[in-house]
């Protein structure tokens, strides 16, 4: 379980509803909808798993369905970390 292996390490994992991620995600590498194309969010019935790889830089992997995206958002990372403390 490549992704899971890091969960107990330096990173932090959280399951989150899709909406919790949508608003603040100012991510350099986040997938974006093309112009004229409706943004396709995760299936609400499926989990979204976030693995924060480095809290200081805000680097995190987001897993949904059979896809993943690497984000860098220190603010969001800090808020997620704060939520579980």
């Amino acid at each position: 379980l490549c992704g899971a292996a890091g969960l107990a390490g330096a990173g932090l994992a959280a399951t989150a509803m899709a909406g919790a991620l949508a608003a603040p995600a100012a991510a350099a590498s986040a997938p974006r909808a093309r112009p004229g194309q409706a943004a396709r969010g995760p299936d609400p019935a499926e989990p979204v798993i976030v693995h924060i790889r480095d809290l200081r830089s805000g680097e995190m992997d987001v897993f949904a369905g059979e896809t993943t995206a690497r984000l860098r958002d220190p603010g969001l990372a800090a808020r997620l970390a704060h939520a579980v403390r």
């Binding site: 379980l1 490549c2 992704g3 899971a4 798993i49 693995h51 992997d61 897993f63 059979e66």
Partner: protein
Amino acid sequence: MSSHREAPEISMDPVADSTDLYAFVSPDRPDTVTLIANYIPLQAPAGGPNFYQFGDDVRYAIHIDNDGDGKADITYRFTFQTRLRNPETFLYNTGPITALNSPNWNTRQFYSVDRFPGGGSAGAELGKNLACPPCNIGPLSTPDYGKLAAAAVHDLGRGVRVFAGQRAEGFYVDLGAIFDLGDLRPFENLHNQYGMNVFSGPAPGVNATNQLNVHSIAIQVPIRELVRNGASGEADPKSVIGVWTTASRQAASVFDTETGKTVSSGPFRQVSRLGNPLINEVIIALGDKDRWNALPPVDDKQFAHYYAHPGLAAALPSLYPGVFPHLAALVKSGKARADLEAILLTGIPSGIIPGFQNSTGPVLSDMLRLNTAIPPSGNPNILGLLGGDLAGFPNGRRVFDDIVTVELRAVAGVTFALVDPSFTPDSAASAVTDGLTNASVKAPYLTTFPYLGVPYSGFDNPS
């Protein structure tokens, strides 16, 4: 074992742990090839009430490279789904299971088979809602197991057959001795014994997999569906295919305490791989085993030094002092084991063994290579090519082949003379064995698909 519990990560994940891979021209349908990938090692037959089953969350695959680039040109993917009839009982079955649709069978498993061409193209569904047989429980629960298992052989049309379910372990090996510091019981009196003098004479091998089961994914496919167009004859490189199996899991998982189940998400990532037998088991070093399992064969060049200078070859002369002097000199010379590289990473080119080749070209990739134009042997030798039988390992692998002895002898130097005629193998190299043969397997192999024997029942085993 061949690949049972062979790496630290996968040893923690049995349902995704590939144990053995077989590829051979079907003896009873020689216009087809049979591919079998085994998973879930060392099953004690009485392992109820939750008897063994494939992972619904694991993506199992058998890959075929037919152009020698170490990449899959054809992938057969198997996806499983467990259906529970009655969650209110603790029982796997509530009465005798006499048919695959028996209402008494509570925990059933079904699967789909998809065929993907190379290059990431879309797959084609070959079959869905295909029933697995139950595990072999005993005379009350599975009174006619052979009939149940036979009903789970599915004909998908176009000459393709599949089976997925429990089978008797067909691989035989003296694990208990081999992993006790390289003891080979028939020669253990010659072992250095670390000065303890435990063994005074030779002893017969002990089959560590005796009366254990595995779960097999078997598919029989017309040869024409696997090779490149125009393949013609034994000397034609297009007749050779490379085969490997993988298991993949979604990249992220968390345990949901509200449901008591694991939740997974993200892309599927490879966690298990198997081509040639025993490679990740005894050739690849501990520090690289997990990474080897996660990579495709096309990336195997980085592991070539393990094949060229296997640790087992260096260990044998010190474990058995004076028994392998020529091997010791070969190891000391630092010469690369071009024989092992050819057998395991490129295939054997024409001109080495009369009338034989299974080369896929220069790309170093660990695949089980099968020359599909070589017909099944009417008189098989379990030592395969070493026994003069061109239809056996390392030309593919049949269910009864003695791959432990073949690889022991190859590593001990028997095959080095093929690439360096000046080398004379030690006399012990052609005699070394763990002392087992296919007769060490209690459940008879089948003469028809899926070839591995009827699984041992929990009622009768251990006995």
